[in-house]
C-alpha cells in the first residue's frame, strides 16, 4: 500500500520568514500521524500545503498518491480538513452548513439532507441542528467543524490543532471522535501542541521546530528519548537543596537541575517505582518537603531534549530575584561536583 501522505523537503517562505525549511512527512494509509510543535513551528503551513490551500516554494508532496500541486483537484476529492482555518459558516445553522457542503460535493438534495442528519446525530449535535453555529459552544463548534470535514467521506483527514482551547471534557470527546474515524480506516494527520494528545492518538509522531523536522518515531520511542516522567521537588528549607539533589541523583542516576530561583529541583525518572525509595530516604535524612510531584514530560522537555532550547519562552517568575542568591550559594557549597549543572538553568538535559 502506498503512503497516504508523503512530503519530501517542503519549503515555504512568507517574505523573509522561513515557515518550512525542508520538512519531510509520511503516513501510511489507516494510521494517525501526529505533528507536534510549538506555535509558529510550521505545522499549519505544512497542513495548508498538503490540503492544496498553499503552494510550496520547494519540495514535493502527495496525498493518496496524487501530487498536491499538479493534481490538486484529485487531492481535494480525497481529503477532509478541520482546524484553525477551515471553518463553517457562523450565520447558518448546523444542518444548513452540512447540507451546503454535501451539495457542493455533488450529493442530491435528499442525500445531502440525510447525510447531514446522520453526522449531526453521530456528533451529538442533533438538538442544536436548527440553531445558527454562532450560538454553539467551543466544543460544539469543533464538532460541527469535524462533521463538516467528513461529509465527503474523506480517505485522508487533516486536523489542525483540533483541541486547542477546549476544556478537558470537550477534548476527550474530540479524541473519541478521532478514534472512531481511525477505526473506519481513515488516515489522519493531526497537528498539536500537546504531547499527551499525540501520545493518545498517534501511531507516529513528527516533531517540528522552526520549519524543520527534528525527530520522528512512535510515541514510545519519543518518550524514551526524553525520559518519560519528571519529578519536581521543593524542600521546605532551601538550604537543604544540595542534600536533596544528592539523594535524587543517587536514586535516578541522573543529575537534577535546579530552577532559576534555586528552590526547585527537577529530574527525569525512569518510572514511578523509584519514588518510594526517594521519599523514604528524604524522610530518613530529615528533609521536610514543600512540594513533591511527578508529571509527564511536557512538550517543553521534548524540545529541550531534542533541540536544546525551550519550545516557548517561560515567563520570568516573580520570586526569582529574591530566592536566587541563597539557592545558588548552597548548591555550589555543598555539592561542589554538581554545582555547574545545578546552578545552570535547566539546560542540563544533554
Amino acid at each position: 500500500m502506498t503512503a497516504a501522505i508523503r512530503a519530501d523537503g517542503l519549503v515555504k517562505n512568507f517574505g523573509k520568514t522561513r515557515a518550512l525549511a525542508g520538512a519531510d512527512l509520511a503516513a501510511d494509509a489507516g494510521t494517525v500521524l501526529g505533528v507536534l510543535g510549538p506555535n509558529g513551528a510550521g505545522k499549519t503551513t505544512a497542513v495548508r500545503i498538503l490540503t492544496t490551500l498553499l503552494l510550496p516554494d520547494g519540495g514535493h508532496a502527495e496525498v493518496g498518491g496524487y501530487d498536491v500541486v499538479t493534481d490538486a483537484h484529485r487531492v481535494r476529492q480525497l481529503i477532509g480538513l478541520t482546524g484553525q482555518f477551515a471553518s463553517v459558516d457562523d450565520g447558518l445553522t448546523g444542518t444548513a452548513n452540512l447540507i451546503m457542503i454535501g451539495r457542493l460535493l455533488g450529493l442530491s438534495r435528499g442525500s445531502a439532507r440525510s447525510r447531514a442528519a446522520e453526522l449531526l446525530a453521530r456528533f451529538d449535535l442533533s438538538d442544536a441542528a436548527a440553531r445558527p453555529v454562532k450560538t454553539y459552544s467551543g466544543g460544539m463548534r469543533r464538532r460541527i467543524d469535524l462533521a463538516a470535514s467528513l461529509v465527503g467521506r474523506p480517505q485522508v483527514l487533516f486536523l489542525d490543532e483540533p483541541t486547542t482551547g477546549l476544556d478537558p471534557q470537550a477534548r476527550s470527546d474530540v479524541w473519541d471522535m478521532i478514534r472512531m474515524l481511525v477505526a473506519d480506516g481513515v488516515t489522519v494527520l493531526l497537528t498539536t501542541q500537546y504531547l499527551d494528545e499525540a501520545d493518545q492518538l498517534a501511531d507516529d509522531i513528527v516533531v517540528i521546530d522552526h520549519g524543520r523536522v527534528i525527530a520522528t518515531g512512535t510515541p514510545d520511542h519519543l518518550k524514551s528519548q526524553v525520559g518519560g516522567q519528571v519529578l519536581e521537588v521543593v524542600p521546605a528549607d532551601p538550604e537543604r537543596l544540595g542534600d536533596v539533589a544528592a539523594i535524587l541523583a543517587r536514586w535516578t542516576g541522573a543529575d537534577p537541575a535546579a530552577s532559576a530561583a534555586g528552590r526547585q529541583l527537577t529530574v527525569r525518572v525512569p518510572g514511578p517505582a523509584v519514588l518510594p525509595g526517594i521519599v523514604r530516604q528524604l524522610d530518613e535524612t530529615g528533609i521536610e518537603l514543600a512540594e513533591f510531584s511527578l508529571r509527564k514530560s511536557s512538550l517543553d522537555e521534548v524540545f529541550l531534549t531534542l533541540t536544546g532550547h525551550r519550545a516557548e519562552e517561560e515567563p520570568v517568575s516573580g520570586g526569582a530575584a529574591a530566592g536566587s542568591p541563597a539557592g545558588n550559594e548552597i548548591a555550589s557549597d555543598e555539592v561542589s561536583h554538581d554545582d555547574a549543572r545545578l546552578t545552570e538553568p535547566e539546560r542540563a538535559a544533554r
Partner: protein, 271 residues
C-alpha cells in the same frame, strides 16, 4: 444506507478535472447559501431596508423644499437618484461578505473542497443580487407610499430598476476587489464609503448639476451615476432615455471588464 460508519463508502477513482456544469452547480449552491444568510441575519435585512427609507425621508423633507420648492415636487425628481444611490451602497455588502468569508476561514473550507475555484466568488455575487432587489423594492415601494408616481408606464419603471441592477452587478466587482485587498471588514466599510460619497454627491443623483461650479460640473457630467440617474428619470417620469441608458451601460461594461478580472486575480492570489 450506511449508518454504520462515518466515512466508509464506495470509492470511485477521483476525476482529473471539473466540468463547467459542476462549477455552475457549485455557484448555485453558494448562491443559496448567501440568500439563506440574508434570511437568517435579521440585522442585515433591517439595515438594508432602513437605509433607503431614511435617505428618502431626510432628503425629501429636509432638502426638498429648498431645492424644488416643495417636498412632493422633489420626491418625483430624487427618487430615481436615491434608487441608484441605495443599490450602489448595497454593493459594499459584496466586499464585506467576501472579506468576512476570508477572515473566518470558510473560504479555506471551500478551497479544500473539489469545487470550481470561481464558484465562491460567483455565488457571493449572484446571492447579492437578492440584496439589490430588496433595496430596489423597498426604495420604490416606500417612495410610492410617500407619494411618488410613475408618469410613464410600469414596464418602463421596471426597465429602470433592471438598469440599476445591471449597473450594480458591475459595481459589485469593485466591491469584491476591495473586500479581498483590504484586511478587515471595518477597512472595507471605511474605504468603500469614502470612495462612494464623492461619486454619489458629485453627480446628478440628488440635485441638478447646473448650479455646480464649472469644474465640478465637468466631473458630474462624466460621472456614470449622473447618466444612470438621468436614464432612470427618463424611464420613470419621462424624458430622454436612450443616450443616457446606452452610455451608463457602456460604463457598466467597462467597469466589469476592468474590475472583474482584477477581482478574480486577487481572489486567486488568496488561493
Amino acid at each position: 444506507m450506511t449508518t454504520g460508519t462515518l466515512t466508509a463508502g464506495t470509492r470511485t477513482e477521483p476525476a482529473r478535472r471539473l466540468s463547467p456544469l459542476t462549477g455552475l452547480r457549485n455557484s448555485f449552491t453558494l448562491t443559496w447559501r448567501s440568500v439563506l444568510k440574508i434570511r437568517t441575519n435579521a440585522e442585515d435585512l433591517v439595515g438594508l431596508s432602513l437605509q433607503p427609507i431614511m435617505f428618502l425621508l431626510l432628503f425629501v423633507y429636509v432638502f426638498g423644499g429648498a431645492i424644488s420648492g416643495s417636498p412632493a415636487h422633489y420626491l418625483q425628481y430624487v427618487l430615481p437618484g436615491i434608487l441608484v444611490q441605495t443599490v450602489l451602497f448595497a454593493t459594499l455588502g459584496t466586499g464585506l461578505m467576501l472579506n468576512q468569508d476570508i477572515s473566518t476561514g470558510i473560504f479555506d473550507r471551500f478551497r479544500s473542497l473539489p469545487i470550481a475555484r470561481w464558484a465562491p466568488l460567483a455565488g457571493a455575487i449572484m446571492g447579492d443580487v437578492t440584496r439589490y432587489v430588496i433595496s430596489v423594492v423597498v426604495t420604490v415601494g416606500f417612495g410610492m407610499i410617500l407619494g411618488f408616481r410613475v408618469k410613464t408606464n410600469p414596464f418602463a419603471a421596471i426597465a429602470a430598476c433592471l438598469l440599476v441592477l445591471a449597473f450594480a452587478l458591475a459595481m459589485c466587482w469593485i466591491s469584491a476587489l476591495i473586500g479581498m485587498l483590504v484586511k478587515t471588514a471595518q477597512g472595507v466599510q471605511v474605504f468603500g464609503f469614502t470612495a462612494m460619497f464623492p461619486i454619489v454627491f458629485a453627480s446628478g443623483l440628488l440635485v441638478p448639476i447646473a448650479t455646480m461650479p464649472g469644474w465640478l460640473q465637468a466631473f458630474a457630467k462624466a460621472n456614470p451615476m449622473t447618466l444612470l440617474a438621468a436614464a432612470c428619470r427618463g424611464l420613470m417620469i419621462g424624458g430622454p432615455v436612450a443616450v443616457q441608458a446606452g452610455e451608463s451601460m457602456l460604463w457598466a461594461l467597462g467597469i466589469l471588464v476592468v474590475f472583474a478580472p482584477l477581482a478574480v486575480r486577487a481572489y486567486r492570489r488568496k488561493t
